[in-house]
């Protein structure tokens, strides 16, 4: 379990670093998928098996394929989007320093915060498995489930209105 947490955490962090530093959008997508794999392993180490599978299918599969399609649609041209990639300009330096300060602050809160002292509760053996999760989702929390259906519908209609119309 120790090894799982360390390896998966490092995978997730390496994936995010790849997104920050990579020059080509395709490499960014690959490192994002890498990060999602690490997060799925972390969910498994937290006994949330259903969510780990959902993470792989929805994030690692569907969303990243969407990104790849858009990159394939748009990056056929030769010039890169960002002209100053790879060099350290002043706004970038500012962004790095602000983000670094945020990182240090949040990491201190996470490591020494009072909320994190909580001990792990005892849970039954089927915690987080599909049957138990689905039962909870469709009985106690059925309203968020319905709201999700509505949100997805709005997203589909919105995308169709945005890019689906034909120009004369």
């Amino acid at each position: 379990m120790n090894v799982v947490f360390i390896v998966a955490g490092l995978m997730a962090i390496a994936g995010v670093l790849g997104v920050i530093l990579a020059k080509q959008p395709v490499y960014q997508v690959i490192s994002t998928v890498f990060s999602f794999l690490g997060l799925a392993a972390l969910y498994l180490s937290l006994q949330s098996e259903f969510l780990a599978v959902i993470q792989l299918i929805v994030y690692g599969g569907a969303i990243m394929i969407l990104f790849l399609f858009v990159i394939a649609l748009l990056s056929a041209r030769k010039d890169p989007v960002e002209k100053d990639v790879g060099q350290l300009t002043r706004p970038k330096l500012l962004g790095y320093s602000v983000g670094g300060a945020l990182l240090v602050m949040l990491a201190i809160v996470g490591l020494f915060g009072h909320e994190g002292r909580l001990d792990w509760a005892q849970v039954p053996a089927d915690f987080g498995q599909v049957k138990a999760f689905g039962y909870q989702l469709l009985t106690t929390n059925v309203f968020p489930f319905e709201v999700l259906a509505f949100i997805l519908m709005v997203a589909v209609i919105g995308v169709m209105i945005l890019v689906g119309r034909h120009r004369a």
């Binding site: 995010v16 969910y43 949330s48 929805v58 748009l74 990491a107 968020p144 997203a155």
Partner: protein
């Protein structure tokens, strides 16, 4: 029973969130910014799942499920906007998109 304490998960989530924030601040292409936002949402998800496991309830996992679905919708809309942006102008640096600025 997870081997590490909850603090380790909280700190890892904080690091992932801050790194995603750096990605949003530093990169100038809309695709990279959207990916960084996804990674920040994932860091929040990890926190939801970890605290849900620590309390032994399902609310954290259901919230994470909700966040994943909303993120899928958000990516669909965001990528549609990106496609429109690339169609309208030859360059798609987010600094050049400033018609709405006062």
């Amino acid at each position: 029973m997870p081997a590490f304490s909850l603090n380790a998960y909280v700190a890892l989530s904080a690091v992932l969130f801050a790194l995603g924030g750096i990605g949003v601040l530093v990169r100038r292409s809309p695709l990279a910014m959207l990916m960084s936002i996804e990674l920040m949402l994932n860091a929040a998800n990890l926190l939801f799942v970890a605290f849900g496991r620590a309390h032994g309830g399902y609310e954290g996992q259901i919230m994470a499920f909700l966040v994943i679905t909303v993120a899928a919708a958000e990516v669909a809309i965001g990528l549609a906007l990106t496609v429109l942006l690339f169609r309208r102008r030859p360059e798609a640096d987010v600094d050049q998109v400033n018609e709405l600025r006062l």
